[in-house]
Symmetry: C2
Subunit: 202 residues, 2 copies
DNA sequence: TTGAGTACATTCACTAGTGAGTATACAATG
DNA sequence: CATTGTATACTCACTAGTGAATGTACTCAA
């Protein structure tokens, strides 16, 4: 399961992880296109050639970066949802509230998956796109399950999509306007949609 | 008002326009970062040096490109809104429906303003960002006016933002999933928000 | 226990290509 | 003949990716 590490030097951090970690830091802070592998190498304290020993291309590193963020991201959403007291609508809104707080950080740069998508539109078949798509789908599916559990089985899929639509819209808009309050406005809309769906269930 | 054109050769299309037009075509189809000024020059049938005679930098061309799209874009939205029969909610949804149709085109590449924003995150002070921001604001303001006219004065601003949030979310999501149906789902949510706002007005 | 062998890991120095922006010369127009 | 505009032919910086050599750690035979 860990073919890149010799058992006898188990204490050392695998180089692959060091590279992905360094790349992630730069990608998050600067962007993907604007980060050269020379920069990643410098950040990781390695040579570019070493990077190319562990990865076949920059694209492969981008994919590894997103993949590493997939589950943790979803877990964060789940945590925020669970940690919010109140109705189903309140819990959904809780996700947006927590995001609004995160967005206040000056270094906040939106959703890594979304940004990657836009940075890579020119190559529709890019593996990273697939990972981003899968991630969004995972979040959507999880939301649908929660909505179903909350008594909205019939409209759970549509509603989950609409919440995600609001989420992604907020990511973009907050980035454009540098104003986290849009995140709260989006949360309000999401909560309203949930509330009205529950109310109209007769 | 047209300092770059000599009166005596008034029949000739001003070179500035030729350049912006060529750039726009390439930016729309390929992206901003991925279009070099060599490509723009080739498309315009000019030399790069000529471009630099009329513009000081690539950034200036990007800004001119967005600026040229500002009003026409808004006009299109207005047209779609007006052309849709039905209630206020229906008209709002109409915008999304028309966009869904446009998004079916294989060469559709989302909202130019939004894409530009993401492509330029690294330079927060970029003039093009300001133009994009202003454009979104213009659309939002127009929507708020329509909502107010439709009897939703109190919540028009919040609602207009939420509609825009859904719109931008749909732009991103459709681009990611290459599935225009998300645009319709977003339209449904927008229409619902409007409907419920009208219903709860007692 | 030691020393040669070997597979993995890393480095230095490089190629080939691209892109923004420019120095300078040339053409047309009034 | 001077102003405006266009073209040729560059510079300079940077980037993805590579060739070939070097280093390191563990293995196994003697």
């Amino acid at each position: 399961m860990q073919p890149n590490k010799r058992p006898t030097q188990a204490n050392k951090r695998p180089t692959r992880d060091v590279i992905v970690h360094a790349a992630a830091k730069l990608f998050r802070g600067i962007g993907i296109r604007d980060v050269s592998l020379d920069m990643v190498a410098a950040e990781a304290g390695l040579t570019k050639r070493t990077i190319y020993y562990h990865f076949r291309s920059k694209d492969e590193i981008i994919a590894a970066y997103l993949e590493a963020r997939d589950m943790p991201n979803l877990e964060t959403f789940k945590q925020w949802f669970d940690a919010t007291e109140g109705t189903l609508a309140d819990k959904v809104e809780g996700i947006f509230r927590h995001l609004a707080v995160a967005a206040h950080h000056p270094k906040w740069k939106g959703c890594g998956f979304l940004r990657t998508t836009v940075e890579l539109v020119k190559t529709p078949g890019h593996p990273a796109m697939e990972i981003a798509r899968a991630h969004k789908k995972r979040v959507e599916d999880w939301l649908a399950v929660e909505l179903t559990a909350g008594g909205l089985a019939a409209e759970s899929e549509t509603l989950a999509r609409q919440i995600l639509l609001l989420l992604d819209g907020a990511f973009s808009t907050v980035l454009l306007n540098r104003d986290p309050s849009y995140m709260e406005t989006a949360g309000l809309a999401a909560a309203n949609l949930v509330r009205h769906a529950l109310a109209s269930r007769a």
